[in-house]
Subunit: 339 residues, 2 copies
């Protein structure tokens, strides 16, 4: 287990999407975040107290979380230097980057010398099985998206909390590094070996018979040419009873691929239902979650109403407006819409 | 590089599909295979001389190829014992199983003691990029399938040879362990980390401007719930101009999943074209390759004619009947069929 509380790393980041792991922790687990670390050229903040490593240690922090993301997940010189300084100040270091802390000799040497621990959250646990697609009991929901980083984790967490408020057993099943740091368990799906993608999801969301729900965090998009394989295996492994489609209306091109247009919502819903049917023939779509964080409130509400009218589905920004209408549709087996 | 010639391992196998790596080498590279090793309870043969390890060494063999496959790719006690005996007799050992030779301490110890080399063909090379889906030049063909193990590698190799016979530059791009052993290079796609599936294919089949073709070996099936993520990323990374659909008419259920029906050919073609269009909007299907090895010749010819009439596509068993009609359609840009 990773020692808490955390100091959240922003470093030199200037891209808000790039700090989504740090932000997700600040939003959903403020109880275990004592502060944020950022360099002078970083224009971003999580609204936490800014601290250097020594001050964070005095404030009780146990682990520096390198909660930043970049395509390919490489470990730059600035991250290495900051991690060394953090360990020398008394912090462990946790990372969700593809490049592993344990593969960088300077970090391994510093950890050994200072007695600190390196956590690579993206290292999957051993023993993941090959998926089998056999029908299993229980209610499962999967969030899917028009693109990467459009709010699937937020939506899933909001749905889990809303279910709990209604007294329904609900387990958030994490599939990415932020979700794993939030939930304390899960599978770093994009780091799983390709043959085991669907099996990894069958493992973290097994059959359940208590009437409760597994709410599975989606990854990528069927329409993202870099990551659609992950999304496909996730749909098959999740065997979802219900999908919720996530979308960022401010996105003008697919994440990391300038010039590549996003799919339309109807097209994207139809494609996801078609893929999901392989293991869940009666899968249905229950709603659309928009990330309206860049919009004024009135415009955001108007857009949700417009999308809802166009698609016939409940639509909201889960974090900003709640998910009650979507949750009503999730819980109503009669709410089904042909795509 | 793996030292040749090879001794091909059958072991205790009794399932013909399970020895497909050994068989593929015997069929496509007989020039580098000196014999086969099998235990007395193995009812299968590749038609090569049966040899124990000492005899194989005397016949010039340099490497024992563990050319057998099983779901999950585990390394059993019999494989370990045989590999130790092979090294003690003077052979290196090459394996395409998921479980790595180098992770078994007894094999590592024996290799060190005897000076032999362990080759894990399924270890991808470092430095695979994330895919980007950007249009790239050159002709590319991808074989796809209704299921796993239905003849995609054979079909791809037969097409490459037929192109070469017509004087067209053609490169077989291997994506599985057998193909890699045959071609001498490629990527073990099912062992690549999930985020890099499409990038791995972009890397092994880069843009080409010589008018020649990259013929890419397919993997899995969009309709196999264990492996469809791999097939999806492969379609996106391949950015294929042409697909050829492979099918085994003797298959009664999806490989490894009793009771799960195969998709229909038309449904499977339509789904593959739809996925491929994300990165190759003008992709077309050029033919159907059947594995008729279990059928008498007359019945096989009749079935191909029937499938061709039903689908409007050329259809043959590539290994048995050649691929000339399919190749004509591959090379004719006007040959396109809406699915």
């Amino acid at each position: 287990m990773i020692a808490t509380p955390y100091l959240l790393y922003l470093g030199h980041s200037s891209d808000d999407i790039g700090i989504k792991t740090s932000r997700g922790l600040a939003v959903f687990r403020p109880d275990i975040c004592v502060g944020e670390f950022r360099h002078d050229d970083c224009p971003l903040t999580l609204g936490l107290a800014r601290m250097d490593f020594a001050k964070a240690v005095r404030a009780g922090a146990r682990t520096l979380v390198l909660g930043i993301a970049n395509a390919g997940g490489t470990l730059g010189e600035d991250l290495i230097a900051d991690s060394i300084a953090a360990m020398e100040a008394g912090l462990d270091v946790a990372s969700g980057l593809h490049s592993r802390l344990k593969d960088e000799p300077r970090l391994v040497e510093t950890a050994a010398r200072t007695g600190r621990i390196l956590h690579d959250v993206r290292d999957p646990q051993p023993g993941i099985p090959v998926g089998n697609g056999r029908p299993r009991g229980g209610h499962r929901l999967l969030t899917v998206g028009t693109d990467c980083s459009v709010g699937k984790m937020y939506t899933t967490l909001c749905l889990a909390r809303a279910m709990e408020r209604r007294g329904i057993a609900a387990d958030f099943r994490a599939t990415g590094q932020t979700g794993i740091l939030i939930a304390g368990s899960g599978v770093p799906l994009d780091a799983v070996v390709a043959d085991f993608i669907s099996g990894a999801i069958e493992q973290i969301a097994p059959a359940r018979e208590d009437g409760g729900w597994d709410l599975i965090e989606g990854q990528g998009s069927l329409f993202h040419p870099s990551f659609a394989g992950v999304s496909t295996g996730l749909l098959h492994g999740a065997q979802p009873e219900v999908l919720v489609m996530c979308h960022d209306p401010a996105r003008t091109s697919m994440r990391g691929l300038p010039g590549r247009a996003l799919p339309g919502l109807a097209e994207c819903i139809a494609a996801n239902l078609a893929v999901a049917r392989l293991t869940s023939p009666d899968v249905r779509i229950a709603g659309i979650a928009l990330n309206t964080s860049a919009m004024a409130e009135e415009a955001a509400l108007a857009l949700c109403a417009e999308v809802s009218a166009e698609t016939g589905l409940p639509c909201s920004d889960p974090y900003r407006m709640g998910v009650e209408a979507i949750l009503d549709a999730v819980l109503d087996p009669a709410f089904a819409r042909a795509a």
